[in-house]
Each structure stands twice: as C-alpha cells, then as structure tokens.
Homo-oligomer: 369 residues x 4
Amino acid sequence: MSGSTFGSLFRVTNFGESHGPAIGCVIDGCPPGLALSTQDIQPELDRRRPGTSRHVTQRQEPDQVEILSGVYEGLTTGTPICLLIRNVDQRSKDYGNILDTFRPGHADYTYWRKYGLRDPRGGGRSSARLTAPMVAAGAVARKWLKQELGVQFRGCMTALGEIDLAFEGWEHVGQNPFFAANVSQIQALEDYMDALRKDGDSVGAKLMVEATGMPAGLGQPLFDKLDADIAYAMMGINAVKGVEIGAGFDSVRQRGSQHGDELTPAGFASNNAGGVLGGISSGQDLRVSIAIKPTSSIRTPKASINRAGEPTTVETFGRHDPCVGIRATPIAEAMLALVVIDHVLMDRAQCADVELPIPAIAAHRPDAG
Amino acid sequence: MSGSTFGSLFRVTNFGESHGPAIGCVIDGCPPGLALSTQDIQPELDRRRPGTSRHVTQRQEPDQVEILSGVYEGLTTGTPICLLIRNVDQRSKDYGNILDTFRPGHADYTYWRKYGLRDPRGGGRSSARLTAPMVAAGAVARKWLKQELGVQFRGCMTALGEIDLAFEGWEHVGQNPFFAANVSQIQALEDYMDALRKDGDSVGAKLMVEATGMPAGLGQPLFDKLDADIAYAMMGINAVKGVEIGAGFDSVRQRGSQHGDELTPAGFASNNAGGVLGGISSGQDLRVSIAIKPTSSIRTPKASINRAGEPTTVETFGRHDPCVGIRATPIAEAMLALVVIDHVLMDRAQCADVELPIPAIAAHRPDAG
Amino acid sequence: MSGSTFGSLFRVTNFGESHGPAIGCVIDGCPPGLALSTQDIQPELDRRRPGTSRHVTQRQEPDQVEILSGVYEGLTTGTPICLLIRNVDQRSKDYGNILDTFRPGHADYTYWRKYGLRDPRGGGRSSARLTAPMVAAGAVARKWLKQELGVQFRGCMTALGEIDLAFEGWEHVGQNPFFAANVSQIQALEDYMDALRKDGDSVGAKLMVEATGMPAGLGQPLFDKLDADIAYAMMGINAVKGVEIGAGFDSVRQRGSQHGDELTPAGFASNNAGGVLGGISSGQDLRVSIAIKPTSSIRTPKASINRAGEPTTVETFGRHDPCVGIRATPIAEAMLALVVIDHVLMDRAQCADVELPIPAIAAHRPDAG
Amino acid sequence: MSGSTFGSLFRVTNFGESHGPAIGCVIDGCPPGLALSTQDIQPELDRRRPGTSRHVTQRQEPDQVEILSGVYEGLTTGTPICLLIRNVDQRSKDYGNILDTFRPGHADYTYWRKYGLRDPRGGGRSSARLTAPMVAAGAVARKWLKQELGVQFRGCMTALGEIDLAFEGWEHVGQNPFFAANVSQIQALEDYMDALRKDGDSVGAKLMVEATGMPAGLGQPLFDKLDADIAYAMMGINAVKGVEIGAGFDSVRQRGSQHGDELTPAGFASNNAGGVLGGISSGQDLRVSIAIKPTSSIRTPKASINRAGEPTTVETFGRHDPCVGIRATPIAEAMLALVVIDHVLMDRAQCADVELPIPAIAAHRPDAG
C-alpha cells in the first residue's frame, strides 16, 4: 500500500533510484532450504540488462547482484534475503535540460504533483531500472517453483509497433535481441528500429508470457483472484497500458459456445480461459498479453509547460530505450513468477489439501499468438 | 489476501453466497460525518438488479439494503458499516443437473479443485451476485468522493458481441437496458439479444468507465500504482478477461510523438494516458476499458467431464444472463470508485500536501470510444 | 489497520455497536471442510453472556448467533463465514445523563477527540459487547485447532482486586461465576463484590490463559513473533493494561541460571518462557497473564469536564459490570485461539515442513499462578 | 506477517543477520520533504552500540549507517529509504561449541524446530543486533514527529535485577551506562554487574519509556488500538516478557474511583491510563513499562539436550550482554516512535479533522516509577 512491497506471503520490498548509489530488494517469506547463489539470479538480470544491443539504451550497467542476507551455507534460511545491485553508470548531466519542464507522457509531471519535488536523474524512482530487483527476486521464485512444482515461465514479443510477429517457435526467443519467437521477421525488426532511431521517435510493443506446469486451485474466489493479481502485476510494469488473460479482448466477440474450453479426460481442448476460471487456476497454462506504450523520452519536440505553468517545448536527449517493450519480456516473466509463488504459498496456508478422484487434466497448449 | 477484502484504507469485506440466506459487506475506514442512509445506496443497487429487462436473468431479487452498523443519527461514525442484502429468490432446483459435471468456461471446475467441494446453488460464491455488495459499498464511496472532491463516475457499453457502439452522448446511458451511450443502435441490440436467446447461446461485451474531476497525485510509484490497482479491481469482476487504461492496446502501434499527451496552460491536449502517468493520477479523467467474456451457462451442449473424470455433455438450463456485460456497467463504476477513494485516503496519509505554483491543469475530455 | 479486522490468514472483521440493531463478524480464511453449526459457537457465547449472575451487568442479551454464509450442508466452504448477533436489550435512556460529559477513565473523551462525535448508547463501538463476535469467531478457531492439532485453550481468574486466588484445579473454573480455578475463596469473592456494588465502585482483576498441545515452530523471527501477536491481542481487549508471557515481570529479578527452562529428553523442566522462545513456540504450553483495570462507569462521583471544557462532576448510573474482568476469561481464551490459528496457517504457508530426528519435547505444566 | 516488516503506513522492512555481511532496513512511507542525513541517525545508533562499557558485550561494531536511497539533495523524496549497516566484528568461532546443543531459554531450539536448520553465528536472525536498524528507522520517525508535532520520546531503566531504581531526574539518563534516571544508585549498579559477571550469570531489568507532546485521537477502536500496537512492538523486542501501559498490573488492585484520571480544564489530574483510553490517545503522555528477561547465554552450566535428543550440559562462552536490558532503552524509545508515527499517518488518512470547542487538555506528568 505504501507502494514498494509486492506480494503477501512471498513479499518483495524494492528500493533505490535509477541514479542513486544502489538499487535492490528484500525478499521476505522465501521458504527455507532452497539452494541459492548469485549464479541463480545473474542470468535473468543479464537478459534484462541495458546496453546489450543497439536497439536499447546505451547505459552500461553490469547489474551485478550481491546477496546480503538470508542465505547461510548456500541455503535460504527462511529469513529476509537482501539483494543489492550497485549503480555504476549514472551520467546525470544528460537530464539537465528537462529539469524544469515536463515530458508529455512521462511521470515527471505526476511525481511533481504528488511529492512537490523532482529527482531528474534518470526518472528517479519512476525509472524502468527499478524492475531489475524484481527480475532478481523473480529468479528466486522461479527456481523454487521449478524445483518444487515444475512450474516454468517463458515469454516473447508478439508485436513491435505496426509489425505483428508470427509465432514460429520458443527456441528462437533467445536468438534475437527482441525476444521474438520468430526467425523470419528479425531483419524487418532491425530495419524498423533503425529507422525509428533515426527519426528520434519511439514505438509500442505487445508481449505474451506463459506459465506452464501450473497446479489447479490457485487463487481466491472474490478479490485475490489469480487473474486480478496478474493484471495488477502486469499493469504495474512501466509503460504497460493493457492486460489480457487468455482470449482477452477477443472474447468480446466470442459466443459462449465458442469461448468455453471443453474438458476431456485427456485435457482441456483449448485455452481461451488463459488458465484461470472464476479467478482460480485450472491447470491449463497461464497465458497473459500486455500492451506497452512508446517511450516518452524522445528527441521529437512536443508542446509542454514548465514548472511555472508557462508553455514551452520539450525534446529529450540522453540515453533512452526507443522501445521499452524490447527488454520487458524477462520483467513480465518475473512478475508472473512472483504472483504464482505467492498464490502457491497461500494455497498451502489454506489447508484445502483435497484428494480428487480424477487425475490432473492435461493443459492444452496451442501455438501462441 | 484471504480473498474477501478489497482496499487498504477504505476496506470492504464481502460475504455471502448467491443462494444462501444473505449477502453483504462490511466497510471499514469510511470517514466519519458523512450523511448516509439506504436512499444513497439503493439507486445504485437498482441499476445492477436482475430481472429488469428480458435481456438479463429473470431471477427476481429486490436487493433491498439494510444498514446494520456504523451510522448514528444519520451520519457515519468512522466505525464499520455493515450492509446486508437478504436473498429472496433462491430457486436452486434448476441447478440440479449440473451438480456432477463441469460447465466449460465456468468456475465449477476450479472451485472443486481448490476446495474439494461444490456449492451448486447458483455458483455459490463465484456468482456475479456477489458484486451487489460492492455496488452498495461503491455508492458510499461515490457519495463521499463527490461531496469532498467533486470526483464522479460514469460508464457505458462500447461493444456487444460483433456490434461496436458509437458514442452518441452520456445522456442516453440511462435510457436503454444496455447502458449504451447511444440511441440509434438500440433496436439492433434488442434484435441481436433476442436471436442469441433463441439460440441458447451467450456473447461477450466491452465497457468503458470514467472518473471525472480527478485530483492529481493519487497512486504510488512502484506497486500500488493507481492503474495497477484499477487493473486488479477490473480483472476481478466476474467474466472480465482484459483491461485497458487510456489508449490501451492501441498504444502498441502508436509512436511516442503521437502517444504522449501534450500539456498546455489550458490543459492536456489529449488523453492517451487515461489519466495516469507513472502510476500516478495526472488530473486528466481516468478512462478504463474492459472486455467481458460470454457467459458459460448456456443451453448449447458442450463436451465436458464429470467428477469421476468420465466424458459427458453439458447443457445449462435455469436463469442466466446471456450477456453478463449488460449489467456490468454499475459494477465497474463502483469498483473504480472504491479504488479512487482508497488512494485519496492514502494520499492524505502521505502528508505530501504540496502547494504548487501553477493551477490545476484542465482535463481534456474527448469523446468516448 | 483500519481497526476492525483481526488476523492475517484467519481474518475476523468485526462490526456493530453496543446498542445498534446487531453486532457480528465475518471470518475469512477458515479452512474448508470443517463441520460447523451454531451449536459449536453458542456455548462459548453463553460463557461470556451478560446477566448470568448478580456480579455482572444486568443487561439481558440472549446472544443468539446466526450463520449467514460460508457453511454449506454443515461444512465450511473456505469462503467467508458471517456470524450475526442481534441486539435485544438496548435500553439507551440510562446513558442520557452522560451525553455531554466525559467519564474519567473512559473512552468517551478519546472517541470524541478522534471522531468529533459520540454515540452515547452504551459506549457505541468502545463497548466490551463487541468482544462477543470475537468469542464466536474464537469458537470456530478452537474447534478446528482441537480437531486438527489437539490444541486447546483454558483460562482462569488469578486475582480480583486485593484478593489473590490460589490455583486449586481447572475443574473448579466452570463452577463459580468468577472463572476462578478455586473453590475455597469463592465466598470471599462473593462478599467482596457485594460490598463493592454497595459502594458504587469497581475493581480490577488478573487472569491467566493457556494453550495446551501446542506445536513447536509457530511465530516469526522479528516482528510477527507469537508472543508479540499475543500481547497485541490481549492488550486490545477492553480494559487490559498489562500483559505477561510466562514469568513476565518476575523475570526482572531472575538470574539467567534460574530463568532458562532446562531441556531434558522427557521434556522441559519448567516454563518460565511461557511457551515462546525468540518469538517462536517451543511446544511448551502457552501461558499468558493479563491485568484488567476497574470499570470507569461507576456511581461514585468524580471530577470531569463537559464538551465546552467546563468543570463538572460525573456519576454513572445504568447497567455496568463492577469488574469487567469477571467475564473476560472466555474473551482472552478466544483471542489466544485466534492468534494461534493464524500462526498455524502461516506456518503451513512457509513450507518449512521439517522432519526432526528427535521426538517432540513434552511440555512441562506446573501449577498456574 | 512474513515477519520482517513493521508498521502499516510508515513501514520498516528489516534484513540481515548478526554475523552476515550487513544488516539494515527499508523505510517505506516516510513523508517527503524531511531534511535527513546520517547525522540525524548516527547518534541514536551510538546510544545502542555494543562495546561502550564493561557491562555490555565487548563486540566492537561502529554501526556506521549508510543511506542508499530515498534522499535527494538532503530531503526525503517520499520513496523508500534504505539504511545499511555493515557488520565488522563477526568473530564466529566463539559459538562453535553450541552448534549442536540448545541453550536453555534461547531461540536456538525454536529456530531449529521451525526451519530445520541453524545459523549458529551469534544467533543469526534472532540476535538483538537486529534492533539496530529499528533504532535507525526510529531516528527518522523521531525527527519527523518532533518537527511536525512536537512529539518526543525518552526512557530509563527502572529496575536492574533486585535493585529498584528511584526516579531522580531525566537529566541523569545520559550520564551513566545504565540509562538510569538516577545518580545515587549508580555505584551499586556497577558493583552488582561486576559480581554478576564474575558469577558468569545474567539478570533481568525493567524499563520505562514515554512519549510527550502527544496529540489526542490516535489509535483505532477495536483492533489497531494504540496500546495494542505498543504492546506488540514492545513484546517483539528481544527478551521482553511483559508490557504495561500506565498503571499496568497495579490496576488489578485499584478501585474505579481511584484509577480513572479526572479531567479538569487545566488538564488531567493523573495518568493511570498511560495516555490511552479505549485504545485511543488522550493527549496525556504515553507511558509504557517493559520487563526484560535475563540473557540465556551464560557461563553457568545448565542441563539441555543435543540435536539427537540426548541429554547434555551447556555453558556459553563468547561475548554476551550479562543484562540485555542495559542497552534496551534506545530500542524501546525507537519502537514507540515507530508506533506513534504510523498512527499519526493513519489519523491523517481517516479524515476526521475535527474542530473541537475546547483547547487541548494538558498532560499530567507525575514522576516516573
């Protein structure tokens, strides 16, 4: 509620600013006995790291994570795990020219209205850099979920601006800088981004993330529904403006006879539900789509006002992602993992422990898109 | 977290089942001194009530609200307000035939997986009937917000199945059974629904809700973002599968030069943000769209399994809404009001109280849709 | 935080006022599948009920509990259980004379300072009558804890004013109106109370409550310590001014060589800890003592001020308990049960599930007092 | 609930272990605009620091605090403040001999029962060293409360083992290593502690803490009562076994005619309430007493068992406080400040803002003890 803690039972408290000395988080509620080292976390941070291709911000941050507490002799102790990431490349001077004005579409204006002050250094607390500690926390959640339950997470870009991306196979995702499950359209994406950078403009994107191997029964009936918590987690990622579960906005035009996923002894016959019925997981794969708006820090001039309320024009120089969606896939995966682990722990607390007469129904897994 | 309480500072705890003796809620944290009687609440409940047109369920529920506590001599006391609504028309026999099977697309299956038991009476706790207490609580929030800050809420249907509805004016919303801001397409909607009912099928819908008169500065930076909380509230409404803030999924194809709402001394020049920047309200109108899936209880037969895991076929008779979206507008308005009041109280707790040198920027209000 | 919900995973939201139409609570998080009827709850309410001896208030309240939700075919469903108790004997006229003044030692004054208004009807929300729903909720917790884990609760009065009560056996507690584990001093207590009533005065009391059959490992290391949560629960009971765990204030004068309970293969050799070490249960019996102040509503005149700030004198007539401690034993037991069940559910969420090489250590159970 | 976060609106999340690389906390919800530097925090840490007299542990820790986030250009920004304290003197070898056994009266045993593992390095997470970050967070709260409302905190030791300490004046507290408000008995305390150290034993203590300048109206009616939250905070401090508010256990023997603090236009005539009536602050000084048990790590041999459940004998060498109460005064003050600031912020959220016709009643301040 005070805005820096995510989760109820697997709680992650995030701290830091984009250009302060360090960012990090405290994970409280991680089960004891999990083997954990920085090697479990670093690869996920590296996937999200800036400066890795010409299509993302050129800020150079190694994003090396330190474990300050909560692990003893290589095992989690059940007590808080503090993860620290030192900021290294905090060039603030680039932001000097925007100190007194408000970038259209940026949190500049609302932070100033809320707090009466501004930290112009890279957006301060509103920077997408603050997702790094969540990716780190998500890596811890992912390790436990995979090991205990076999739940795994993956995601891909499904559209970049006007370009819709065909789903060609999960194996392609790690082979291109866009997290596209696609090999044939990568050159088109490269060209598109190069043109955009030349224009000094930015563009939106659409991503899809999944959880596979899900247990049924996670989620609460009325308010802490699994899909509601997912929507909260996803809409909270910087620049996200829309969230869909399963068929999402396509379900507006569907008939009930078409939308409801039929059940067979061999599994669900489709996944319009996206893995959630009545707020509770069905055992189908969780499937979530998100819309990411274009970055507001662009070189193209736009009308705005200054802090005295007078009209002015703003152009933003400095190092910015022309499409924040490009690095958002590992973030969305991490947030989904944090939602799932919280519900798994909650489920254990609820003591339902039901023995059911039928085997788990297999999750249907159609192609993405 | 235990799933029946909504909100942090204006907390609403919901109880009851569709076919039990009563449903209701306890509101904790309502500011003292608000004049409140059942007359403030009943009109909102009447907007949501079943049985009011041939396009919704024919269950007859007067939904008369009783105030059991928290009001003394016509004023709220600051202590919990218990609102009780007795169930009247609990015909359960209609559900007998679905006791042992699972409706495709329904929470039947997931409740059974979670709890190991089923309350077949009208969906028990998963019934949309449980939104009635939220509409009642929302009415309390709305009265306080209007009186203290001038914040108001409104909404309309923007699509019903394949029919996209043109926005023709807010004044039409109360004049048709669909909550459409439209007068020219109403006959088409009536015909569409009549055909659907004859088919024994159901269909989805899309709604838009707004808050006007919003103060700037509501929302937290990282996790209790105003838009994240809205997404949580909306995705938690029965049958919702997608949520958009402002431009939503359209922002995927927008350029930064186009998406960012320019600021002028006279106000924002557009509202792609939907009233939220960096998770914090900008003073623009809040604008939210939701996708509602088709009802799963339909007469059309679908393949399913029974509790022994054997294949079977399900058709649902009984009284059901062929489009749950039709009655969802007052629900979405209420949930939005509950999110906003919570953030207003939180804002007061945060003591920012900033005096800014410029007057509040006027909210741009383009036509809906 | 908004003050009417107790617990995190077994959450009880309390509503109502002493002289409103009804009081009650909503229990959220009760595990599904527990057999539950009003017969499980009513006996505990009857133990706390007013009007049962000449030493307590003569208000006649049957305190009949109704279950409005959360139970289906005799079993809890895992969804919210609403318990309702109608107020019957709300004679408010007796309070008329105190409407404009503040009783020394009473919450009259602080409620007025907080809310700017007063509900003079029996203390409104500050009345000890609001403990009845907690006793009802506690009965639900107690049934589950006894059945699942064998944990049970009991308590007794250990001092009434100047009279210290010798512990003579648990079997006596139900045989006298004071909840004394004593048979030889009952006549002295009767005489003491009769004299006090004649004087128009009131007096304090001291109680002890225990949980037996406790599992080890409940409680969090730093803040949600089991003993801290117990202190919170106990200090929150009306009129409580002091809480001790185990040796309590006697531990000030103890040496470490004397205080630390030795461990033997056959069990702990003593229980100075009161069942908690480092905030976590040891498997010893929980043992808690509380101090209850004398009632502030007395016939003896005392100096005070009125709402205009002018000096005045207050005497309170009407129906009051001359020693609120007399009826507090079932309340303290219920609150202890609510703390314990919350920690049991939390413990399950934490997934420690440790298999230890030694059998559980027997709890030492010295005589109370 | 997961045990490492304190507070609701001014939230402090604590991390670290006694002998890990660092300890610290994240403060979320600190109002923006507060001038803050390490100089505001360090003096309070220095008051609690080990190694400052021969009567406390000889571990040498400078306890230098670093501010990692939440402060920009010398002012708090309203976003999370991370405070880090590096551990310096982590000599673990002294603990080797207790790795396999359980110290009577120590959390060794319960941690092992809870988590199935032990961090023997100085008690790990159960160490009183973890109070240092709370003292640091408390210093932030204290600065804001003093500046905004004039609320201040102070405390003193009132008994050490068998020696009751006369209250001789607040000015003495900083002049002796015991935090005694006393000058005449200091030599007796020195001698007492020297003898105890020679015996290899430990002893308990009693402390009193106060808040002065309190506003009326803080606290919730039923569960988040100010005194309940204080009891929770105090009982959560390491080794505390009892908590009293105002007259505390003395109120057992008081009559109502004696206990209730009379109100006069010039102020309350006494303070048996300890500043709280019905869970809500009255404007009187808050007054709290706590009992602290003797340290369990002593050289005197005691019977115990090992991890295989076999009988053994334990004596603890290494560096330990022979009376943990000696350094506990600044801790108790800090915890009280954290409770008060949380309620002040909550009060603002509740929007009561009452204008009362009488001036604030002066707080009566009798001598302590």
